[in-house]
């Protein structure tokens, strides 16, 4: 009897703790949402928590008037879509070939890949190589260097090895070549594994701003994250010049930033609940994946 009472107490405390924990995650995010709908000058007085005090749409209206944000947004969408498709194609094909133990050169490639997991050239030599390939100020710098991932290849390869061989064998007898088998049979059967990798690579492409910082000076190729980064880090003069295009008393650089953050995060937040099952299975497929 005492045992059960203690247990009930534990469960209640645990639930209260979890509610507290969830609040610590959610409230700050709602705070930004509230600020993005609030008059910028009013917000400077402080004291805004979960609801806007002086509601306005001016922050959103103002940033949506800026044509560069549409440009940046489409760059991000393009790099995410093309990046994911290319990554799945290149890494997936390599993984399929590598799943055949009779592949000539298989062992050498595995060893090479393992070396790259422990050693790499680091930021500066990689920068020099990428630049010398003419990828600076080039859209493809977002895509080509990350088309292949050894880590993702291993995950896919292990998945393919667990597929029943009989299906492939019968396709072979029907005269299908390796490309047809890969695209028509192996790919559809491996959708869970591909979805997981697509998710992680998609999030990477959506969120990354450092590649742009390293290689881009051409503003028309900035992704949305780098646009926001510039908005956040540009010193007073530059950012007020930016905001100064629209003279207003209702927004500040901060309130514009808050609205931009919401717009940038929105797509991830919208797809997030639907993708949850994939990243959990992905963590289990791959062990540790950042």
């Amino acid at each position: 009897m005492r045992l059960e009472r203690g247990e009930a107490l534990f469960n209640i405390c645990n639930k209260i703790f979890m509610v507290f924990f969830v609040a610590i995650i959610v409230f700050p995010l709602i705070n930004i949402l509230a600020l993005s709908f609030n008059d910028g000058y009013d917000a400077m007085k402080g004291g805004i928590y979960l609801f806007p005090r002086k509601f306005t749409l001016i922050n959103y209206k103002t940033i949506l008037q800026d044509p560069t944000i549409y440009r940046a947004f489409s760059i991000t969408v393009a790099k995410t879509v093309i990046g994911v498709a290319g990554h799945l194609l290149i890494t997936g094909m390599a993984a399929y070939a590598m799943s055949k133990s009779y592949l000539v050169g298989r062992k050498v490639f595995i060893r090479m890949g393992i070396i790259t997991m422990f050693f790499n050239g680091g930021m500066i030599p990689t920068f020099l190589v990428v630049k010398s390939l003419g990828l600076a100020n080039n859209f493809w710098v977002y895509i080509i260097p990350v088309l292949f991932s050894f880590y993702d290849m291993i995950i896919l390869m292990n998945f393919f090895r667990n597929l029943p061989e009989s299906i492939e064998e019968s396709a072979k007898i029907d005269g299908a070549n390796m490309f047809q088998i890969f695209f028509r049979i192996v790919f559809p059967l491996s959708l869970p594994a591909f979805s997981t990798i697509a998710l992680f690579h998609g999030v990477y492409q959506w969120n990354d701003f450092f590649v742009a910082k390293l290689y881009m000076t051409d503003k028309s190729l900035y992704p949305i994250q780098y646009y926001l980064y510039q908005l956040l880090t540009s010193t007073g003069a530059a950012s007020s010049a930016k905001a100064g295009v629209y003279i207003s008393k209702a927004f500040t650089t901060q309130s514009l930033q808050q609205a931009t953050m919401i717009i940038t995060t929105l797509p991830i937040m919208l797809v997030y609940p639907f993708l949850q099952k994939y990243f959990i299975s992905g963590m289990l497929l791959g062990g540790v994946k950042e």
Partner: protein, 303 residues
């Protein structure tokens, strides 16, 4: 009937076509940069290139080891990493255990979903949010003032002495939920009959957690610990890029950012590459040391 290499290759040319683009990418973007590490031993200039630049031996290494800036950067990196290790690492385990104790149902599902959420925010977004929260009229100062804990807003981001804590706590906020996934998966693999048996024997909840749950995930704990120790010098570049300002640079400059500033802002490629090599060599050594240590203590290791 031994087939020649060429015949074998030709019989599987389709597979070879599938794998070669990846081999080329691996060579170009992973192996060629490794040869570029040679710049660390040169007085590299973009005009003369890898082949014609003058060799200077270990001069670049001597230069940064004799530079007080470097020690400051190293201290910042280690301080932030160790704070994360001391606070974040145990917190993940505790959180995973507590989530595991929740009864399966919507409450548990929602808790998990929300706990993973911040992991998917980019550091740019989160950095922007942190700047908002910590500003003088932001969430944290408003809250502290309305609770009368402080009279004046605290300058969290411009006070260099607060930076280590800001960096640590915001990183934990972002990653603690995500960090529970592997532990939860390991816990799901523990045989439920062990808990039933312990219950019959009258073991209380905390005892069951201590004697069943923790041993059940100890392998993963060891693995994560070794990996973490191996990455104490791998500072969070993106976080530092976003949160750094001229007023906190004394405490916010971490190794990767230092390499970036030296190499790409100041153009000192050789010096920056030398610092990069130092950091990766020390990381591999730490990884191996942590591995040996856990082998001694826990009898399990990752290699």
């Amino acid at each position: 009937m031994k087939r020649t290499f060429k015949e074998k290759w030709m019989s599987q040319w389709q597979l070879q076509v599938m794998v070669w683009p990846s081999i080329i990418l691996l060579i170009v973007f992973s192996f060629i940069p490794m040869f570029g590490l040679i710049t660390a031993f040169q007085d590299y200039s973009p005009l003369t290139g890898f082949f014609a630049s003058e060799f200077v031996g270990l001069d670049n290494f001597k230069a940064f080891l004799g530079d007080s800036d470097f020690y400051n950067v190293l201290t910042n990196t280690l301080a932030i990493s160790l704070l994360k290790l001391l606070i974040g690492f145990p917190l993940e385990i505790v959180l995973a255990i507590l989530i595991n104790e929740l009864r399966a149902g919507p409450f548990k599902r929602v808790t998990q979903t929300i706990s993973y959420l911040p992991h998917f925010l980019s550091w740019v977004i989160l950095g922007g949010m942190i700047i908002s929260w910590l500003s003088s009229s932001g969430l944290v100062n408003s809250l502290l003032m309305s609770l009368h804990l402080i009279q004046e807003p605290l300058p969290f981001l411009t006070n260099p002495n607060a930076y280590w804590w800001v960096a640590t706590l915001t990183d934990i906020w972002k990653e603690v939920g995500w960090g529970t996934i592997l532990y939860l998966a390991a816990m799901a693999g523990i045989d439920p009959s062990l808990y039933e048996a312990a219950k019959v024997d009258g073991a209380r909840k905390l005892k069951r957690i201590w004697h069943i749950t923790l041993p059940g995930i100890s392998q993963i704990i060891v693995l994560m610990f070794v990996l973490r120790v191996g990455s104490v010098l791998g500072s969070n570049l993106e976080q530092a890029l976003v949160l750094q300002s001229s007023s906190n640079i004394q405490r916010s400059e971490v190794i990767d950012l230092y390499v970036y500033h030296l190499g790409l802002t100041q153009g000192d490629f050789s010096f920056a590459t030398a610092v990069g090599i130092f950091s990766s060599v020390v990381s591999v050594i730490l990884l191996l040391l942590a591995n040996v240590l856990t082998k001694r203590i826990h009898n399990s290791s990752i290699f």
